[in-house]
Amino acid sequence: MSTLAQVLLDGLLAGMLYALVAAGLSLIWGVMDVINFAHGEFLMVAMYLSYWMGFLAHVDPLFSWVASGVFVFLLGALTYRFLVSRCIGKAAMAPLLATFGLSMFLKNLCLNRFSPNFRILQSTLLEGKKILLGNIVIGMPQLVTGIFSLLLLFALYFLMKKTRLGWAIQATAMDREAAELMGINTDRIYLLVFGLGGACVGIAGGLLTSYLAVHPEVGSLFGLIAFLIVALGGFGSIPGALAAAVIIGLVEALAGFYIAPVFKYVAVFAIYLAVIMVRPKGLFGW
């Protein structure tokens, strides 16, 4: 029984992390209908920033997530201003290919500057800390990331549903021209959404360095899973991203333990295909 509880808990915490990574992508994809292929690389950049802050200035990831969030917010905003905004309204694939190019640029830049070495931050405040509930082990870094994820998703949800800015974002997502006629500066909304999307993944990256090695390839699989979550949860839906992420985390953990570890991604993609066949909009799609 304790094994099942441990597996479920691991799945839940992995799902929370995925939700944090995917939330930003969900916003961008839902509002702008733009696939940001560099999302995984944004995570990598945030992890490097957090790592170097920890390594050089001894700032713990528990604090450096702020800097990572701000930095990737700016990176996202700049990406929109200088890359994506020039592609919107052109060929449908243009923004996708532009962000794909950006992802390659960022990955190879880090490969060139920081080498492909795996970098681990030692002696972080949360390192090795755990809560023991009988036989069940809860890693503190994972727990803290999970709590951050919930708080951030709640804040995003609040922003979207209860603030004028959120309404403006939703209006822009529904009909850009109509929103402009209502006096909404949609270009600024897009800029902000790209920045916010970046900030979410930046915070996730900042926290992740407390328990994951940093290297130029680290964002690739996270990026892929984030796409899956957004499609499964429904484009632009924050609760959808959370629900989908938790489902994926749990399926991954249960299939990995009870069927075979090598089967876990087969199960994850099978669940995704099954849901999409029944409900192509995703679980909570607009």
Binding site: P141, L221, G256, P261, Y265
Partner: protein
């Protein structure tokens, strides 16, 4: 004015022609070799070090190094002054890319031979390309035994195979049971789901079963995973006494850290040619990496004691990558030294004659543990040896065989909460 323009044009043309003639003349005395490794992707760290090792060997061979006591160091080039020119290519760690890059190196770059390719899954298709073209493939550290079971004529591999290492692991466990009363009865395996990982696991299982150990956990995972929770959870639930690991790079660090998070360790963790041997990873894992073990063909500590001639060569290598040789990269340097010695001995670039020299000669190899290299059937280096080391504060301390052992291994490994 017209005349001036015409003269300028003719001068430019003559200059360009002279330049190309110069390079053509220079090219006559250059031997192009393909260096095919993963320079991007999850194994890029290891790949870049392998390239640096081959470059180091080329530097030693191409220039006079009277201070070095290694073959060909005291002369300039091979075959009376022929310089080695390396053409580096990237496999990305992918078999299909390795194959197409091998084809490009042979057909477009016109290389004489290829050295590569770290991942067994990449070496396999790349060497099939060279074999068809009747060109040499010198493989330093790919460890899948299947590579030398294909009866290829132009493929030669320096490192010990997974089969050899598996037998050594099992032999060591039996020795531990006898001499340190380790009480190891069950074995678990954790490995990446690739050509290398699967083959290592098969060899590990076969060796363990042959010696009467029970294999209780067989955990394959997809390399580059976001977490290894269910993998470690599976190991923890089956609780094997010893674990054989085949996890490369970042997966190795994730495996170690997930075991720490789940507060579980086997009595013994023995690693194939993996992240364990990477000195940078050992440094990054710091105390968490302590007491893990693995097969090691080289470490600075082993070098200082048994391979004293390496240190001077290592200085050149360290300048390139900032770390000393490791068990994998040093084999790639050896691969080039052996190829160059064979060409020198054959006195010709005829591939068949050089291959025959490689097959029939016992080479002096100060960069190899044991000091000699000689190839057997399938192109496997029959003199390849590795010893089992245990990490103690970032140092690879030999623990087996007894003739090499410097200390008694910490068995069982010290639990996480008592470190």
């Amino acid at each position: 004015m017209q005349k001036r323009k015409f003269l300028s044009f003719v001068s430019l043309l003559v200059f360009v022609l002279l330049l190309s003639a110069g390079s053509a003349l220079a090219a006559e005395n250059v031997l192009k070799l393909g260096v095919l490794f993963p320079l991007t992707g999850p194994c890029a760290t290891a790949g870049q070090r392998c390239v640096a090792a081959v470059e180091t060997a080329a530097e030693v061979i191409n220039n006079k190094h009277p201070e070095l006591d290694v073959p060909l160091a005291k002369q300039e080039g091979i075959l009376k002054g022929m310089k080695i020119q390396l053409v580096v290519a990237d496999t990305q760690g992918k078999p299909d890319v390795a194959k197409s890059e091998a084809e490009r190196l042979l057909n477009q770059e016109g290389v004489y031979a290829i050295i590569g390719s770290y991942n067994s899954s990449a070496s396999k298709p790349a060497s099939a390309v060279t074999e068809r073209a009747k060109k040499l493939f010198m493989c330093g550290c790919s460890s899948s035994a299947a590579l030398t079971e294909r009866d290829f004529k132009y493929f030669f591999r320096l490192a010990p195979t997974d089969k050899t290492e598996s037998k050594e692991f099992v032999e060591y466990i039996e020795w531990l049971n006898k001499n340190q009363k380790a009480g190891i009865k069950t074995i678990g395996l954790i490995y990446e789901n690739t050509e290398f990982g699967k083959h290592a696991a098969d060899e590990g299982k076969a060796a363990a079963k042959a010696a009467g150990f029970e294999v209780v956990a067989d955990v394959a995972f997809n390399p580059g995973a976001t977490n290894l929770n269910s993998e470690v959870q599976t190991l923890k639930a089956k609780n094997p006494d010893a674990v054989f690991g085949a996890c490369l790079g970042g997966d190795y660090t994730l495996w170690v850290r997930t075991m720490k998070q789940m507060n579980w360790l086997p009595k013994v963790a023995l690693n194939y040619c993996t992240g364990y041997q990477d000195p940078k990873i050992a440094q990054q894992l710091a105390a968490d990496g302590n007491f893990f073990m693995g097969g090691t063909g080289y470490s600075p500590e082993i070098g200082a004691k048994y391979m004293k001639k390496v240190a001077a060569v290592e200085k050149i290598y360290s300048k390139k990558v900032g770390v000393p040789f490791d068990s994998d990269s040093i084999q790639e340097a050896v691969a080039l030294f052996i190829l160059a010695q064979a060409i020198e001995k054959a006195g010709t670039l005829d591939v068949d004659k050089v291959a025959e020299v490689i097959r029939t000669t016992t080479f002096d190899s100060p960069l190899s543990l044991g000091g000699k290299v000689a190839f057997g059937p399938g192109g496997q280096n029959m003199k390849a040896t590795s010893i089992i080391t245990q990490l103690h504060d970032g140092k690879y301390v030999p623990v087996y065989p007894p003739s090499y052992a410097e200390t008694k291994a910490t068995v069982p490994m010290t639990p996480w909460d008592k470190r």
